[in-house]
Symmetry: C2
Subunit: 226 residues, 2 copies
């Protein structure tokens, strides 16, 4: 199994330009997240919905006049910021990301997050989609492994669903249970708004050879997303 290394592009950008970008695009993305939720819950008349659709298409045409090709990727600025803006869980410019703010614990090797999952993350009626819970846990687990100093890609992930998770406030925590060589085992849980554990999980994270070589060559530590 041979894989090309991930490409981390670098852009020339001052701290001020970075802050400006966060404010401008953060505003657009947050507005789109709210529009997405409202579009699911609205019951206005069909003519209003059709008119709104035309406006969305006009807006899209203006924004797509100049675009990067393909995906956003992970871009490092010359001032040292890591822009993983496209990430589906934490990406600042990704309207499908809740987004999670994940706090890494680099002393003990762990990560945790408190977040809110609204109507867009539904599976069974009134409950968070089980796959969405897997999605957020995979991100938190990966950041826990990285915080423990042993980053890796998900090798296996096992989720035990103890009970349905109500839409709304949630929290999750993960920690490095063991690390040996290129293999790191992470364990953790997810809780609902009542503080009940609804999901328990365990993951094996593996650092592929090409990634080890790349990290060794660059002397870099893995990214903490902004």
């Amino acid at each position: 199994m041979s894989q090309p290394p991930f490409e981390y592009r670098t852009v020339d950008m001052t701290d001020e330009e970075f802050a400006d970008e966060q404010a401008v695009y953060g505003g657009l993305t947050q507005a789109l997240r709210r529009l997405g939720e409202v579009s699911l819950r609205t019951i206005v008349d069909h003519d209003t919905v059709i008119a709104a659709t035309r406006q969305v298409e006009e807006l899209t045409a203006r924004l797509e006049a100049e675009m990067i090709p393909g995906n956003f990727g992970v871009v490092v600025t010359t001032s040292g910021h890591v822009r993983g803006y496209g990430n589906a869980v934490v990406g600042m410019r990704n309207p499908i990301a809740p987004p999670l703010k994940i706090v890494q614990d680099r002393v003990k090797g762990g990560a945790r997050s408190e977040f809110f999952l609204n109507a867009l993350y539904e599976g069974p009626p009134g409950k968070v989609h089980g796959g969405v819970l897997a999605l957020v846990l995979d991100q938190i687990f990966g950041e826990a492994a990285a915080a423990g100093g042993t980053p890796g890609m998900t090798g296996t992930l096992t989720l035990r669903y103890r009970r349905p998770t109500a839409l709304g406030a949630c929290s999750a925590e993960a920690w490095v249970a063991s690390a040996a060589g290129i293999k790191t085992i992470v364990k953790g849980w997810l809780k609902d708004a009542d503080g009940e554990v609804t999901v328990e999980a365990e993951g094996l994270f593996i650092l592929p050879r090409w990634a080890r070589e790349q990290l060794a060559a660059s002397g870099e530590t893995p990214p903490q997303y902004e």
Copy 2:
């Protein structure tokens, strides 16, 4: 562990009204999916982004003038259609859903889907987020269990990531490996555009007692989403 049964609301709606709703809201949601992707990839100047943000906020205000409270849920029409519009993977009115069209095989007990994951579903640069792969597999696995006549909620889900999955076209398939009493084991895989298996998975689906009682009382079969 006691859980309230899921609520399947019923609405009075003709086939014609249903088709109209699909066209009107399908159009809005599809336009929002495209706007979401473009918002991540655009490099127009900041003034244009700020003006777009204002417009998104104005649109939101018009649509939120009348809304259902909370989440969408699963709503059954009197003409027999099941509207799981809020589902995070397949929901017709959910802009974060790719959305997947899943084909159930009710003879053999399985489900499969071909779908496209764009820049919004990124994890590592150029690759699908591992948690997004878990999200789509959880939905397909649940539909496979239901197609096998033994529906259930995800009890455990184990994912083995064989290699990174490039953003783009993907396919997945799941089948009932065994079913005994209230427990159904589903197995399956996900392939990338080259037809390489990138994820293998296994899930245990369990039908909780309250759901068994509810199904028995209603004589209903589990929903196939539209």
